[in-house]
């Protein structure tokens, strides 16, 4: 599904990603772990199409289609969704209006009919409840005045509404207490399916107790330096990134 080859990217001339290789098959969950500044969030943002980052080399394809040639909205139409590390507050835009505009844009791109306001409300009300969000959130402005936990749950809620094929979670666990973390993980797990893939970017192993990955990759210095199964995450939790850094320094 997702194929990343020799990806180099940076911001304002400063190289951050230095040759990322990653293949994600349909239905798989891949975790990307790494210390601060290793490039995890940059990778997530490059996949989603944040213009801030310049790609200098390499390719990112989704089912063979060149993602790097697409605008951010075209990537969303192709099935990419990124849950933001810092969800954006947009005062003056109601959550319902925003989500319906997004869903209709995605449906239109897929050649489906647009959904009317009434049908939309029915469609989303159940999903709101399942993520433990209060329905009055829908009439409030996007993320405005939301707590940290509400913002993160709102990201997963949007994901549930838009039904993307590739979900990229950028440190969705940061700033969450254990209950919120479980709710978010339940939301993600409910979306797992043989057709849908996940790239979960996280600093800590904690989230992976609840969203169990098929593959774990460790990112350091802008590259994926080690890959393995879920046991790799436990190893990291136990020993930290130190031994691995030393090992790499020797090599």
């Amino acid at each position: 599904m997702l194929e990343i080859k020799n990806l180099h990217a940076g911001v304002e001339g400063k190289a951050i990603l230095k040759g990322v290789e990653l293949t994600v098959k349909a239905g798989e969950v891949h975790a990307i772990m790494g210390p601060n500044g290793s490039g995890k969030s940059t990778l997530a943002n490059v996949i989603a199409g944040r213009e801030l980052y310049e790609v200098s080399e390499g390719s990112v394809t989704l089912d063979g289609a060149d993602l790097l040639a697409m605008e951010p909205e075209e990537r969303a139409h192709a099935g990419v969704f990124m849950a933001f590390q810092y969800p954006v507050e947009i005062p003056g835009v109601s959550s319902t209006y925003f989500l319906r505009a997004a869903l209709n844009a995605v449906r239109k791109a897929r050649g489906e009919e647009e959904i009317d306001a009434m049908a939309f409300l029915t469609h989303i009300k159940e999903k709101v409840k399942s993520l433990g969000l209060s329905p009055d959130m829908l009439s409030r402005s996007v993320n405005e005045g939301f707590s940290g936990g509400e913002k993160k749950r709102n990201e997963i809620f949007q994901m549930a509404v838009l039904e993307p094929r590739l979900c990229v979670l950028d440190e969705t666990d940061s700033g969450l207490d254990i209950d919120a973390l479980k709710t978010v993980a339940d939301g993600v797990n409910a979306l797992r399916s043989p057709e849908r893939s996940f790239v979960v970017v996280t600093h800590y192993q904690r989230l992976l107790n609840y969203i169990v990955p098929d593959h774990v990759h460790i990112m350091m210095g802008g590259r994926l330096v080690k890959s393995g199964g879920k046991e790799l995450a436990f190893e990291l939790e136990e020993k930290g990134y130190g031994p691995l850094e030393e090992e790499l320094a020797k090599a």
């Binding site: 909205e73 835009v93 844009a105 791109a109 402005s141």
Partner: protein, 432 residues
């Protein structure tokens, strides 16, 4: 240049002045005196040049070549649908005259909505007491010309304690080419009365006209008025308006001005807070594109203690358009415990768009709270990316964020149908 402009104005607009003179004998003696004063002030100031500090950023050169004459009575049907929102009173004013055939006034005891011409005889005392008493025309050359010229107008009176539920809608239509139109509105809200009023200015056809509206409002003790003004004239129109308010104790007056139209359009709002415990909102949204020049001057006079005023002006400027904002707040010596907030924010959508913003606070009392802020910004990258990453196309995302910028003001309007219409109009104008 200035003298040249004046000369051209004198020769080409001389017919206007002649009409004004011919007109000055109309009506009762007090009105004749008022008209004579209007004519004298206008003769003295003529068309302002940029040398006039109040017109520094609003050069009127573009209109110097167009001859204007007093507007003929206009048609009764137009090439567009009148923008009604509600089912209350409906008034159509064509070239400054009330179209009596289209006048709809529900039977509400104590509510008067009629032509000013009728009111001059039927409500003579009330009209004489207030007409020309709220608008201080001395410094306003165009309001002075309106005073010299207006042939008819609209009179709205709310008797004491009357609460009018359905909004009173007034649509001012300008029709013709080279027309000089002088719409005049007098609103008198007696103690304890309340109403919502929506005035909309539109243009029939594509002529080049000059519109000089003057609206005067007296909000007496404990009255509550919500007043929306929508300036949606053609982009060939020259529009110079004065909107003057006098508020008395414990009154609440909420005003929302939305400016879309005009080649050059200026609105002066002058609010006199002449009692205690007054609440005032003076909010505006301005949307300029192409080569439009939209100018808003506001003046709030806090004359008495314990009053609150809130002012938020939001301007959206695209293409090569220019917007001007000048916000004066005078806190007089007696006006202790004044709480006045003024905020002006501009959103520039194009590198060639221009904004001139000037807050001007003059405070002569010592125990007051006055704050003001002015910001100029562009659409931010992060919210744009957030919307686009959810699949919303770039132009629609821009539209959503621009609307969000204006929403802080538009959402305060309590009439939902008006809010919806303004939202649709905003998107339409910005092409998103």
């Amino acid at each position: 240049m200035a003298t040249e402009l004046m000369q051209r104005y004198d020769s080409e607009l001389s017919s206007l002045l002649a009409s004004a003179e011919a007109h000055s004998g109309d009506g009762p003696p007090w009105l004749q005196a008022l008209r004579a004063k209007g004519l004298a002030v206008h003769r003295e100031h003529g068309i302002p040049t940029p040398k006039n500090e109040e017109w520094k950023y609003t050069p009127l050169r573009p209109m110097a070549n167009k001859p204007f004459a007093v507007a003929e009575p206009g048609p009764a049907v137009f090439g567009f649908e009148l923008p009604w929102c509600c089912d209350g009173s409906r008034v159509v004013m064509v070239n400054g005259r009330v179209d009596r055939n289209q006048l709809v006034v529900p039977k509400v005891s104590g509510l008067t909505v009629k032509s000013l011409r009728d009111a001059l005889t039927e409500d003579a005392d009330l009209v004489q007491r207030h007409l020309g008493q709220v608008a201080k025309i001395e410094g306003h050359t165009f309001a002075s010309l309106n005073t010299a010229l207006f042939g008819d107008g609209l009179f709205i009176h709310l008797a004491a304690g009357v609460a009018v539920e359905s909004p009173i809608e007034v649509v001012h239509v300008t029709s013709g080419d080279g027309s000089c139109v002088a719409p005049r509105v007098l609103i008198v809200a007696d103690p304890g009365s309340s109403a919502k009023i929506v005035e909309t200015y539109v243009t029939d056809g594509d002529g080049v006209n000059m519109v000089l509206p003057v609206t005067e409002v007296v909000a007496m003790d404990r009255s509550r008025i919500e007043h929306v003004r929508v300036q949606d004239e053609s982009e060939a129109t020259y529009s110079f308006a004065l909107w003057a308010i006098r508020q008395e104790s414990d009154s609440e007056y909420r005003s929302y001005s939305v400016s879309f139209g005009g080649a050059i359009a200026r609105l002066d709002q002058e609010f006199w807070l002449g009692g205690r415990h007054i609440v005032t909102r003076l909010d505006g949204v301005v949307v300029a594109h192409g080569k439009q020049l939209l100018d808003n001057h506001t003046r709030l006079d806090h004359a008495m203690p314990d009053c609150n005023s809130f002012e938020v002006y939001k301007q959206i400027v695209d293409d090569e358009a220019t917007v001007v904002f000048n916000g004066k707040i005078f806190v007089h010596q007696d006006a202790q415990k004044t709480d006045a907030v003024q905020n002006n924010a501009a959103l520039l959508l194009s590198p060639r768009a221009t904004i001139d913003s000037k807050p001007q606070l003059e405070i002569f009392a010592d125990d007051v709270k006055c704050t003001h802020g002015a910001t100029v910004g562009r659409l931010e990258d992060t919210p744009m990316f957030y919307l686009r990453s959810r699949g919303i196309p770039k132009s629609q995302a821009e539209g959503i964020l621009v609307y969000a910028f204006a929403a802080e003001v538009l959402e305060l309007i309590s009439i939902e149908a008006v809010r919806d219409r303004l939202e649709a109009r905003l998107f339409e104008k910005l092409g998103v």
